[in-house]
Symmetry: C2
Subunit: 411 residues, 2 copies
């Protein structure tokens, strides 16, 4: 593996030096290549589906795996769109002249070699390869074993475009040893890998965070809260609660727990229940909640659970401090929202909740690269450092200082 990683280090320089128009042309050629090879992709994908069924994968996983003509077209479109994004490399982030007269520029540059470890969806292969290429990085992709045939054919199609343009195919690499042992080795290779991004279940992310000597940007769970303050606009609160829970339930930016101020609970909970019943949402309430509406009992485990399902836990709390306290204890630092018309309460919540995205009078569902206007989604980071919250393509860059002198020596 070390031999292979050495090769990647050489590729770094090549991809970092590509002009924007070359990178964009490569991306468009790759999009076209996916379209031209749609039959082969679907054929290889079928092999994964057959193996998946043999291994008794559930229908949701099978659906994630499935590629058809329209899904391949979406993959191609995504590459075309990435080609239109603003060049992320070479942005002058800051620049100044110091008293000695030297001029300093802080300039965005590629990170280098990025390893991405992900599960099931084969479109992640082309998406992340394209995002890395656009940002001047070499990528090492390690997809789920269940999507092996699909990922291989997609990577090969993209690599063929590189080769046709006289570029080394290793700029877009699949991890050669696609096993747990391969991953275990990879995340110790800090000499060659500059960043690892795990996207997947909690166990995967925990394993990588604890064992990697390469810096990690996590895409961890979202245990999000909506807090309805006593001074909330009732109609906004209901609309946003339904949206944050029900618009899509299997996603990290949906809420799991609704916190309701005790002074508004009696009035709003029956109205909320009416709407949630229409959505067939399973409600699990604290003791006080159960005294107002009929629902299941929330156990202490509920506050700590990311359902990823149409289930909502509800807790009546004393005041805003108690809401912040609850979020601090059980939240995952992803997205949390307050509904209030009170200026000071809103400011206090925004400043006190230590999450990547803190909202006032809006749904947590907006935590998304697309909604943020980033154009393409790298992921949603639950790191506190380097990148936090929705990651745009600029988050796949770091910076260097360029310093311009006129024969300057230090006094």
């Amino acid at each position: 593996m070390e031999q292979y990683l050495k090769k990647l280090k050489e590729c770094k320089k090549i991809v970092a030096a590509l002009e924007p128009k070359i990178k964009n042309s490569l991306l468009r050629q790759m999009a076209q290549a996916l379209r031209d090879n749609v039959k082969q992709i679907i054929e290889e994908n079928k092999k994964d589906l057959i193996e998946g069924k043999n291994n008794a994968l559930n229908s949701a996983l099978i659906d994630r795996l499935l590629l058809d003509e329209s899904r391949v077209e979406s993959m191609a479109k995504a590459l075309d769109e990435i080609a239109t994004l603003k060049e992320p490399v070479g942005r002058v982030l800051e620049g100044w002249v110091v008293p000695s007269g030297i001029r300093i520029e802080k300039v965005s540059i590629p990170i280098g070699v990025i390893a991405i470890i992900y599960e099931s969806r084969p479109n992640v292969t082309s998406d992340t390869a394209a995002l890395c290429l656009k940002s001047g990085n070499v990528c090492v992709l390690k997809g789920g074993k269940e999507a092996n045939f699909s990922n291989n054919v997609i990577a090969q199609i993209l690599q063929n475009v590189l080769v046709a343009n006289n570029l080394p195919k290793e700029i877009i690499s699949l991890l050669p040893d696609n096993t747990r042992e391969g991953v275990a080795k990879l995340i110790k290779m800090d000499k060659y890998i500059d960043l690892v991004i795990p996207r997947g279940g909690e166990a995967l992310i925990k394993y990588i965070s604890e064992n990697s000597s390469v810096p990690v940007v996590k895409h961890d769970k979202g245990l999000c809260h909506l807090y309805i303050d006593k001074e909330a606009k009732i109609e906004d609160a209901i609309k946003i609660a339904i949206n944050a829970k029900c618009q899509r339930t299997g996603v990290c930016n949906a809420i799991e727990t609704l916190l309701v101020h005790q002074e508004i609970a009696q009035h709003i909970l029956p109205l909320l229940k009416q709407e949630f019943d229409k959505q067939k949402t399973e409600l699990r309430g604290c003791e006080k909640t159960q005294m107002i509406i009929s629902c299941l009992e929330a156990s202490s485990k509920d506050w700590d659970t990311e359902y990823l399902d149409n289930i909502l836990s509800i807790k009546i709390i004393e005041d805003t401090d108690a809401a912040i306290e609850h979020i601090s204890e059980f939240g995952s630092g992803h997205s949390d929202s307050i509904i209030t018309e009170n200026y000071s309460t809103a400011e206090y919540f925004l400043n006190s909740v230590d999450s990547a995205c803190v909202y006032v009078n809006a749904s947590t569902r907006f935590t998304d690269g697309g909604e943020f206007g980033f154009g393409a989604e790298v992921g949603i980071s639950t790191n506190k450092l380097h990148a936090r919250g929705p990651m745009g393509i600029n988050d796949l860059t770091t910076y260097k200082f360029k310093i311009y002198g006129k024969g300057h020596a230090r006094d």
Copy 2:
């Protein structure tokens, strides 16, 4: 230890919510407290000095340990200066409105709990405590055992100021278990510690990078290069070479290797030797160098060695590509400089060398928080992510997104 770290987590909220003027007043009170207690500090420091002599510490280490009235005054002044820095928390880094009408602000916030592991110099205790306080962070300090008495008394003086202001003393903490085992435990506590900054020898940094599950910002070695291109201004090249090597030799931003273009070597090397001889610099040259000037022979190990001493290795290379290649192989990604009057060569070098600080026609000695105008030095990061190169106080912050809606639900 977990009990103690839980307490720190509670302190996070308190220190993050302090108004700038309160933080600045605390810093000024701390400066005054150091001045008021100078005798006690010197007394405790003497105990370290005696133990150090008993343990046969060398004179350089003893000098690093020593505190006298003027050094304590410098420590106090540093705190006063940190109080005058611009508030690092709450800066709006970006802000925009998305098509749906929600307004997004990316705002700087404290990182949380920062652990700093360092060696000998006791002034690091007050400096880093102050930098963390100013940036709204809780700090856990782990100094060298040889400075135990000094660090304890300094921390206690700072803590007394906190207590006198009705703040928990744990905002500035010394690691209670000041042993290797204590550090080993600490760097696994990612639930409580948000960042660890090791400052010290290579072994310490390697150990922490490889074993920490907490994100690390390294302050690693500096193997810096100066490349004299064939189109260099001779007088600039000589002045900068002397400055970069000899102005201070025991520092990370001094050069270790001089790369000289073959077409200029015959002319410039004798001139360089003349100047370096005045500085009593030991020169170790490659074979070609030895054919031009008399000097020791450089072994292959020399290209890989941070001397931290008045020693310079010299290599004659074919062209700029060979210089970049050498730097890529042996450099530590810290600071590297080219001397040239050729525009394209300068641009090529600035873009191709993957170091935190890349210079043209200036000495690498400028890689320094003070010289960069940051006001106070947190360290020089050799990380690629989060912070790279000289770290100012702003690098002790991260960010959150504040999102302002008007009852927004996602479509």
